[in-house]
């Protein structure tokens, strides 16, 4: 079970880099959805057996992060008719290298943290995912990519949570999932309205004032 969990964690990191390297938004959404599936299966793999807690957590995670939110985000890009992130503030190559640096830093940092259970990879992968989520959030200009960055950031935090999965009551985790869902839902609606108002979902234009 442990080696399966490690492979899942590595795939999570690869998905991070896939989002960093692609400009097509639908491909990014797919990568984040795959990451959701991986996170859901991870909670099962780490538990080692089928318990009700892990099962419901996995089903909830996959349901929200891999099915509901990607579907909603796809609806948003269709409505706003954006296909790709055209001009990120930091180029793809540079942000890719930033991601690689984040990878090295988080493995170096995680080696100094007290181990908290799970596999040894859990904490560094959580750190990488949080950092790459932040990079996407900061460097992309389309509001939708920023939502994706936020989702990745949250995925990283979820991974941190998995180190404590046995100790956190189910209700808290369900609440977090609900929060994320509502957050992304609101952001999606906002994106939709920004698009209607400004004919663009570039976050750079949000500093312009417009009266209607």
């Amino acid at each position: 079970m442990r080696s399966i969990a490690e492979i899942l964690l590595l795939l999570v990191v690869l998905m991070d880099f896939a989002v960093l390297g692609t400009s097509r938004l639908s491909a990014c959404i797919r990568a984040v959805a795959v990451q959701g599936v991986l996170l859901g299966s991870l909670s099962l793999a780490l538990e080692g057996g089928l318990s009700l807690h892990a099962g419901v957590l996995a089903a909830g995670t996959i349901g929200v992060k891999a099915i509901l939110l990607p579907w909603f985000l796809r609806w948003a890009i269709r409505e706003a008719s954006v296909r790709r992130e055209v001009e990120p503030l930091v180029g793809y190559m540079a942000s890719f290298l930033l991601g690689a640096a984040a990878l090295v830093v988080s493995f170096a940092v995680a080696a100094r943290l007290p181990s908290t259970g799970g596999t040894g990879l859990l904490v560094p992968v959580a750190l990488v995912t949080v950092m790459i989520g932040l990079i996407v959030l900061i460097t992309r200009t389309k509001a939708l990519s920023q939502v994706l960055g936020y989702l990745m950031l949250e995925n990283g935090i979820y991974l941190f949570g998995l180190t404590q999965a046995r100790r956190v009551p189910f209700l808290v985790e369900a609440g977090v999932l609900l929060d994320v869902f509502v957050g992304v839902f609101v952001m999606g609606i906002v994106v939709f309205h920004i698009n209607r108002e400004f004919d663009s979902i570039s976050a750079l234009k949000l500093t312009e004032l417009k009266e209607s």
Partner: protein, 302 residues
Amino acid sequence: MLSRLLSIALVLVLAPLLPGVATRTRGLLTGRRGSPVHQLYLDLWKLMRRGIVYSATTTFIFRLAPVVVAATVVVAALLLPLDGHAGLLRFSGDVLAFAYLLALGRFLLVLGAVDTGSSFEGMGASREVAFASLVELGFFFAVATLGVATRELSLSGMLGLGSGEPMPLAGPSLAMVAAGLFALLLAECARVPVDDPATHLELTMIHEVMILDHSGPDLALLLYAGAVKFALFGALVVILIVPRSGVPLVLWLAILTIGLLGVGVAVGMVESATARLRLSRVPLYLAGAAALAGFGLVLVVS
């Protein structure tokens, strides 16, 4: 000794089959029949019997290039532990020799291309060199991962079982390195996401355009060298992922053959599934390959 000679002979003989397998797979998957698998053998045979035409603007470098390219690739083959244990030649640090033998061949190929004075060939040469510098980065990340994991500096020590110990690499980092090497193989052997062997437009070619002016036996040497390079990288991947403690020689040769053909099929599948990348996107692809191998390194070090 016999096993080493046999495995090297196997790879050298089998090499021209691989591009054929890749092309055939691509053809079948895209709903065409494709050229026969042994097409390259036929091409080589045909070219060997032809005369050579040299342009009046070329110098001796142009004549030297095919010979050096073929020679470096074959010498590099001697360094790889193709029988799964040790190469014919081995010394500490022969990874560098392997990488730079291939680089020497590329250097001469590029010089030969520039020597013709054709602007198309110059463009191809500049692209080849630009991308090769990134391929080298990825290759050294992969090699560094293996080196750190096994505490060895020779290819035979890293990949073979010279010391009798099983490879102490953890599975995940091994998978990362193998995936990175496969991605590099596609770039190094001028296959689809980076270069298209089937393209007919000189403007977009990379490798093909550099060998446009070569003819006859010279061209045969270059084509053969390309196929051997393909086989070497394929063998690198196969040796890396196939466990082989106590496998008898005949079985190993069979495994190597199947593995190499499998790499050919995999390349064909990639080629039929993806389009060629825009030239400006290629560095990102290569950086991704390097990142895969570098990720393996991080896993091994931590």
